[in-house]
Symmetry: C2
Subunit: 292 residues, 2 copies
């Protein structure tokens, strides 16, 4: 018969062995999520080096020469992971409602400068902001920013990746404003445009006036456009929501041939939660069944 | 005060850095998306080693001792990146509608064995599948799988990560079935349960009978439950959708005290696209404002 001390000792040894065996057995390694890269691209147009996030779909072993549409995303640092995950999931073999896609996220340097169409000091509530150090300075550089995309970024992407001639421009807030500005002034640059809560309030609704001028009634524009807004303008009594309604009404009245558009209103979402359902709905709208 | 030599040296270093940065034109580096890890965890309960994906929130420098709720996700290989991205985005400082969260994705070995509550050969349309090599074999191991979570996985996670005593169990399809089974049989294990398109058809609606038995009318169960379905049962004339309606009606009739539940129906989504809006809505429902 075992004495009590050796019984305790034996139990301790067994316990020690148990934990040792199990401790060595667990193994931790990093999880490699995607094939995304960070590109530092020097720009002569903007006279600065721009950081670009590029997400590339997992290789299709049955089709090594496969090409992909490209989604150019403004505010890359904000929504790049979201768009990468959305397009990866929705293009998976067992989901398969959109094609695999390359996501190009453009990280901001001077956001207001790059994403606004005019130089303006008129604030969100339509009042001039005369402070010398206003956050709105500098502004009005969207034309030059689109030139950077057209002449430097897109050629880089097209020469380094297997791209299809189907390009989408996507943005939120100022990025949404820039997306609509691009559709109106350079419609040849992209096939589809996404504008999640575009800041139509900029410069006393400059973009609504421009849209009225550029979109000819009964004219032709073979493009796809998704736009949306959330609780802004109801929660803060600004013109945010009425601007979106005006734009939607204008598009309906113009009956532009070939322009497929959808307007979604998310009253339960805020300006910052809305991108989650809106980018999802935008992708589903652009690739409304069947996409192939 | 700096001596002249060190001043010259400093200038040279700065100059060198300047030219180095500008000389390297385009630069590509990998994009490090998250702090996710892959754990290989030997299980005595299941007599096999299980692969677990663990996503940990970005550190909060203002609060190094911060603790996090944990979401345990079945079918880890299918929806781990989705849940990681959703919780990262929704808990970001400028979005901030849910807390930062740890995601624990359990990768399948024998999915049907682990996620079904009974041994059964009754198929999706209520007919017996008598083939010797039916995909439904083996089945009925959910009890043991929950034991693995309770006795091995959860203790591991709680001892290696800064966890809060708030745990969520989330699953889709068979994973949704397992989530509801756990709520009915081991409600103490989790505070909240997500069941996206649970396979209530399993074993001629076994789970509906179990729910009727376990949930006492006017009883008390201080839990949160989100469940949903999509176009299944309408597109394929199975009992899928009517089963969900029955469950919802049963919960309403039982008036269980403390049981917060929401049922969402997504007729435009398929069984495989539904997880995208449903997991989003589930997280928003669990942390309905204000969450703190």
């Amino acid at each position: 018969m075992m004495n009590p001390i050796s019984r305790v000792a034996k139990s301790l040894v067994l316990l020690f062995m148990f934990f040792t065996l199990h401790a060595t057995a667990q193994k931790i390694t990093p999880y490699l999520q995607t094939t995304s890269q960070v590109l530092e691209l020097p720009s002569r147009v903007l006279n600065e080096t721009r950081t670009i996030y590029i997400h590339y779909p997992k290789a299709d072993s049955t089709n090594p020469n496969k090409t992909y549409p490209v989604l150019y995303l403004m505010d890359g640092e904000s929504h790049f992971e979201m768009l990468s995950q959305y397009t990866d999931y929705l293009s998976r073999w067992d989901v398969n409602v959109i094609p695999q896609m390359i996501i190009v996220g453009i990280v901001n340097t001077k956001r207001t400068r790059d994403l606004t169409p005019t130089e303006s000091i008129i604030n969100y509530f339509g009042q001039p902001d005369t402070s010398r150090v206003s956050w709105m300075k500098p502004s009005g550089g969207n034309e030059r920013f689109l030139q950077f995309i057209r002449e430097e970024l897109k050629p880089y992407v097209d020469s380094h990746y297997k791209t299809q001639p189907y390009n989408i421009l996507a943005g939120h807030s100022f990025g949404g404003l820039a997306s609509v500005y691009c559709l109106l002034t350079h419609p040849e640059m992209f096939q589809a445009y996404i504008a999640v809560s575009p800041s139509f309030w900029w410069d006393r609704e400059y973009i609504l006036k421009l849209a009225d001028q550029k979109l000819k009634k009964g004219g032709s524009l073979n493009k796809t456009l998704f736009f949306s807004d959330a609780s802004e303008g109801v929660s803060d009594s600004s013109t945010f929501h009425t601007n979106l309604l005006k734009f939607d009404a204008m598009l309906k009245a113009k009956t532009v041939i070939g322009l497929r558009f959808e307007y979604n209103y998310y009253p339960k979402e805020t300006h910052m939660t809305e991108p989650m359902p809106a980018f999802y709905d935008a992708l589903r709208f652009i690739y409304k069944a069947p996409y192939k």
